[in-house]
């Protein structure tokens, strides 16, 4: 009952007219920001610090949190419509979202993304409310060895998705890790593979590679296919309505991925990305129609979308209960809270219950706003697909370039974007999956750094990875996720050859 009373107290704060206005403004701005690649929640929040400075801390955090989860909510749009994931957490959404859009089901894909995001967001707020203080222990129990194991699991899970060829999946993943190595090595300060170029000192940003090998490669592929002159099919948007059986189909994936996403989000680091990929590969494994994943399966949209929104809420756990930011975005939030005179940490629940419970309650309201706001917008936004193909392709090109240039103001990055577009085209033509490459790029740094940190702490003793129970179990699951598909193909081959 305690939680209930606290929540009512929180709603008392969140339902003040001014705070309702802030939630609305936050999620609205967030949705727009999320739709544009390159304009991530981090820069948006940093720009808002001066605005929130004079506000009540609870109002300030309500507004900024709204921008953050609003951006994750809106982030799926460009993944689905243009195959251009703007943030790492929505890469997995494009796997089935974009094929659905190509089949004229864009409206449905966007609607599923919105519903799943809503459920993921709301379920995770319940968890945040009930067990946040307990979870802070989970968050700190992950040291370098455990992170290494988690990253390995994330990678093997996505490699095992590539059903055509495990080897090609592994090759793509290795290339991704190699790209992640470029830049200044955090552990020693040494430059690696920068060829003396100052532009490569900080490595290659995820966005450049993602927009290149997904969106730009798609543009090149369509050009190669000579589809330039064809008119887009009429009514490319399709209906937004879900049938009863479709709702039934996605209910399970959404529920499971919401929980999974929340728990991965609690871990400081790559919560939303790992969460969405793990959610996606788990559902593919469980589903009877797993082989249609990647070809426009609605569950392939629902799972990652529920997971990434849940992870976003989860990332508030270490921020609010430990005062430790788990990502760049929550680091900016922490900075803003400090400026407003709130010290997040173990004592925050007692010292500033208004901030904690006010924000939790506002998340319920914010998620409802997001759903109500996004659903009517879908037909409008999806109209983009009605554009004639030459126009659409040019639009995607411009969209990607603005996204990349707006992030770094570097012409060099534009050339890289083009380069990765060609790499992506090559990968498509020769049947290499793009997902392992991009995930390996995102996780590569944490993978390497946590491995080296763990070894430095253990004095170079490799058994540290199997001595720790969490790390050991994650590594065993990782091994299974690679091994089982192998066994399965072996058995299938044997069955085929027996016939």
């Amino acid at each position: 009952m305690d939680a209930f009373n606290n929540l009512m107290y929180g709603f008392g704060i969140a339902l003040e007219p001014i705070n309702i206005a802030y939630v609305f403004a936050g999620v609205f701005a967030g949705t727009i920001i999320g739709m544009l690649p390159g304009l991530g929640p981090i820069s948006a929040l940093a720009l808002m610090i001066p605005i929130t400075f004079a506000m009540e801390p609870s109002s300030g955090l309500i507004l900024m949190a709204g921008v953050y989860y609003g951006a994750i909510f809106g982030g799926s749009t460009s993944s689905i419509l243009l195959n251009a994931p703007g943030v790492a957490g929505t890469v997995a959404t494009s796997f089935d979202g974009y094929p659905m859009a190509k089949q004229g089901l864009a409206g449905k894909a966007l609607a599923i993304a919105a519903y799943s995001s809503f459920v993921g967001g709301t379920v995770s707020v319940v968890f945040l409310m009930l067990i946040a203080p307990l979870l802070s222990k989970v968050a700190v129990s992950f040291g370098p060895a455990e992170y290494f194991a988690l990253m390995v699991l994330g990678l093997t899970a996505v490699v095992s998705l590539s059903d055509k060829s495990l080897v090609k999946g592994l090759i793509a993943a290795v290339i991704g890790v190699m790209i992640s190595i470029i830049g200044i090595d955090m552990q020693t300060g040494t430059e690696r593979f920068t060829f003396g170029s100052i532009h490569l000192l900080d490595g290659i940003d995820f966005l450049v590679v993602a927009l290149g090998i997904f969106a730009l490669a798609e543009v090149f592929y369509m050009l190669l296919r000579g589809g330039g002159g064809k008119e887009a099919p009429r009514n490319a948007i399709g209906s937004l309505k879900l049938t009863r059986s479709e709702v039934k189909q996605i209910a399970g994936p959404v529920g499971r991925s919401s929980v999974l996403g929340f728990f991965t989000g609690v871990l400081p680091g790559a919560g939303a990305t790992i969460g969405s990929f793990l959610g996606y590969s788990m559902e593919k494994r469980i589903a009877k129609d797993g082989d249609t994943f990647g070809k426009g399966n609605i569950k392939g949209v629902a799972a990652p979308e529920a997971a990434n929104n849940a992870a976003c809420t989860g990332s508030f756990v270490p921020l609010l209960t430990l005062g430790v930011p788990g990502s760049g975005t929550t680091a900016v939030l922490l900075g803003a809270l400090l400026v407003m005179g709130v010290n997040p940490g173990p004592m925050m629940l007692e010292q500033r219950p208004d901030v904690f419970w006010g924000v939790v309650a506002s998340m319920y309201i914010g998620n409802i706003f997001l759903l109500v706001l996004n659903l009517p917008l879908i037909p409008l936004i999806a109209k983009i697909l009605d554009l004639p193909k030459p126009l659409l392709l040019s639009l995607i090109l411009i969209f990607c370039m603005i996204g990349v240039y707006g992030m770094s103001f570097s012409v060099f990055d534009l050339l890289l974007l083009l380069g990765f577009g060609l790499v992506g085209l090559g990968m498509r033509l020769f049947g290499f999956p793009a997902a392992p490459l991009i995930l390996a790029l995102i996780l590569g740094n944490i993978l390497e750094e946590s491995m080296r940190r763990a070894l430095q702490i253990s004095g170079g003793d490799w058994t540290t990875f199997i001595d720790k129970p969490i790390s050991l179990s994650l590594l065993v699951i990782a091994l299974l996720s690679l091994g089982l598909p192998l066994l399965k193909t072996r058995r299938n081959e044997r069955v085929v050859s027996a016939k």
Binding site: I42, I184, Q187, L201, V324, P325, L338, G345, Q456, I457
Partner: protein, 331 residues
Amino acid sequence: MTTLSLKHFAVLALPMAALAMTTSVNAQEWTPSRSIEFVAPANPGGGWDTLVRTMSRVIQQEELADESFAAINVPGGGGAVAWAQVARDSGNPHKLFATSPPMILVPLAGASRYDHTDFTPIARINTDYSIILVSADSEYQNLDDLFAALKDNPSLSVGGGSAPGSMDHISVAGLASAAGMKASSVNYIPFSGGGDAMTNLMGGHIEAVIGGAGEAVGQLGEGSQLRALGVSSEERLGGGLAEVPTYQEQGYDYTFDIWRGVMGAPEMPEEAVEYYETLFAEMLETDAWREASDQLGWIDAYQDSDAFATFLDEQQEQFSSVLTDLGLMRQ
């Protein structure tokens, strides 16, 4: 010699600086003719970014300048990308950037083509200090306990939020020297930020953490999972850190400043430097600044352009000797 006297005035009598500006209005005084690009050589959210944004905001809020300060993030290479960009803008009086020890350390490590002597020092603004943290249930009650254990078993890990050879590492290595250890024998584990290091300390994955005092203050106090063993300041700090003894109190003759300041494009005109010096000195006196720096745990440590330049040279010398001990000096 109005220039010189004005500078001395600002140092000796900070509160008078505002007055000094109003009385020194004369024909040759320079004022910005367009908005000032104020570069944070890093992504939003870090120390440089916070300094740039807080200063811009206070200056705007208190209407101290006619033109606005536009905060610009130029991330990359631990600052090197931004420095290369500013270095190309020689003589531009409308370009400033935030700076701190990496301005010295990154070039010393050979990771930047430009070092502090390539830019115009404008003013040192404030400072933070290093703090040594251990877990609240740890057996170490003071620095003696910790260093006794470290001497016994040098493989015990000390985490920090920056790369080897960068601030946190230099700070703890210098302290280890003062404690009679070899600087390079500290098993320093670099994490991706102070917060990351502290989480690992709470989880018992490492033995101790060296971090910024301002960053740690929120983690200390009642119900905390961490304990502070010492700060690198000369005198005890105030507020939530009043209970934490200094290194010197515990018999370790060592202090470490995490200073922050502002530099400008190379060869910035003298009058412009003067304008900014006075402006920042004035800013430090405002209530809005007071309030913001109290929240952020910053301690004012103003120096004008000349004093800052000398200070930077001294820092370079001090850091090179520690880096040489660590074997991280550029050959």
